[in-house]
């Protein structure tokens, strides 16, 4: 969900307070870049998408009816700017993920069922992700088909609500929930493989 600072910045700009302009640019340029880099896979495209998105945002700022939803509004514009790039994704091809492919394997261990899950307690419990783990996660996200990658970037990385993600991507709530769950299962599986 849009945090208080982002909403305040949007409100200030809507009120014509130009002193909020630089902070708004700084805050959202970084977020748009992260999203578009993970969607497009090219730094140059991500830089262009960031500028094109912010330009569109400022050209149509009076159309932001609800400052509380500024993040969803900005990412909707960013998503369209990414689509306009029309460059073939360097990441995974488009395909559907099925639930069954993520069902964990189980062993029968003396009459007790035991899932083949790695020891997750080995994961570092720090605020900042270790570089190696960040790379694993980055590759796992990049390996997701585009329709799942878009959802997980907005819902889990940017922490938009289900409703905001649906609005940004122009899909239904059910589609967001379905894609999010399959994307999370795919990420969990990759992390589990890394920990083995």
């Amino acid at each position: 969900m849009s945090d208080t600072r982002e909403v305040e910045l949007a409100r200030d700009l809507l009120a014509g307070k130009e002193e909020a302009f630089d902070r708004f640019v700084e805050t959202f340029r970084s977020k748009i870049f992260q999203y578009s880099f993970m969607m497009c896979g090219h730094r140059e495209d991500a830089e262009e998408v960031s500028q094109e998105t912010l330009l569109k945002v400022f050209e149509s700022f009076d159309q932001l009816r609800e400052p509380e939803r500024v993040k969803a509004w900005v990412f909707r514009i960013a998503k369209n700017a990414c689509l306009m790039k029309r460059r073939k994704s360097v990441f995974a091809p488009s395909q559907e993920l099925s639930l069954d492919q993520f069902l964990p394997v189980s062993d029968d261990d003396g009459g007790h069922r035991k899932l083949q899950i790695a020891d997750w307690s080995a994961l570092p419990d720090t605020q900042v992700l270790r570089a190696e783990l960040r790379d694993v996660l980055s590759r796992a996200i990049a390996g997701l088909p585009e329709i799942y990658r878009g959802v997980i970037l907005l819902r889990d990385v940017e922490e938009l609500s289900t409703e905001e993600t649906a609005a940004a991507l122009d899909v239904s709530l059910e589609v967001v929930k379905t894609r999010l769950h399959r994307a999370r299962l795919a990420i969990r599986q990759k992390l589990d493989e890394y920990l083995r």
Partner: protein, 97 residues
């Protein structure tokens, strides 16, 4: 990939039904009754506990994830282009900088 075996532990169908709902469960987007059913199942199913914990941890890591790539400094000309667009829009809305 082999599915979980129904003859050991909880019935297969229970685990599989729960499997489809885990993200909504973690996000607290399910009706209270469904959440209670899931909690009751998990309480008696160690493999599901293990799986739910690993999925929850994955989501926590995603919340902390940043790609490590950052945009370069914004050139002044690009900043001016944005500022002019903002001013034009505000003037159109009745504000004058």
């Amino acid at each position: 990939m082999s599915p979980m075996q129904p003859e050991t532990g909880k019935p297969f169908q229970d685990c599989k039904e729960l499997f489809a709902l885990l993200s909504e469960y973690l996000d607290e987007e399910l009706p209270p009754g469904t959440c209670e059913q899931i909690r009751a199942h998990i309480a008696g199913c160690p493999p599901c506990v293990e799986f739910v914990n690993s999925l929850r941890r994955s989501v926590d890591l995603l919340h902390k994830f940043r790609s490590g790539e950052a945009p370069g400094p914004l050139p002044e000309a690009a900043r001016d282009e944005l500022r002019q667009a903002f001013r034009r829009n505000r003037e159109g809305a009745g504000f004058h900088a």
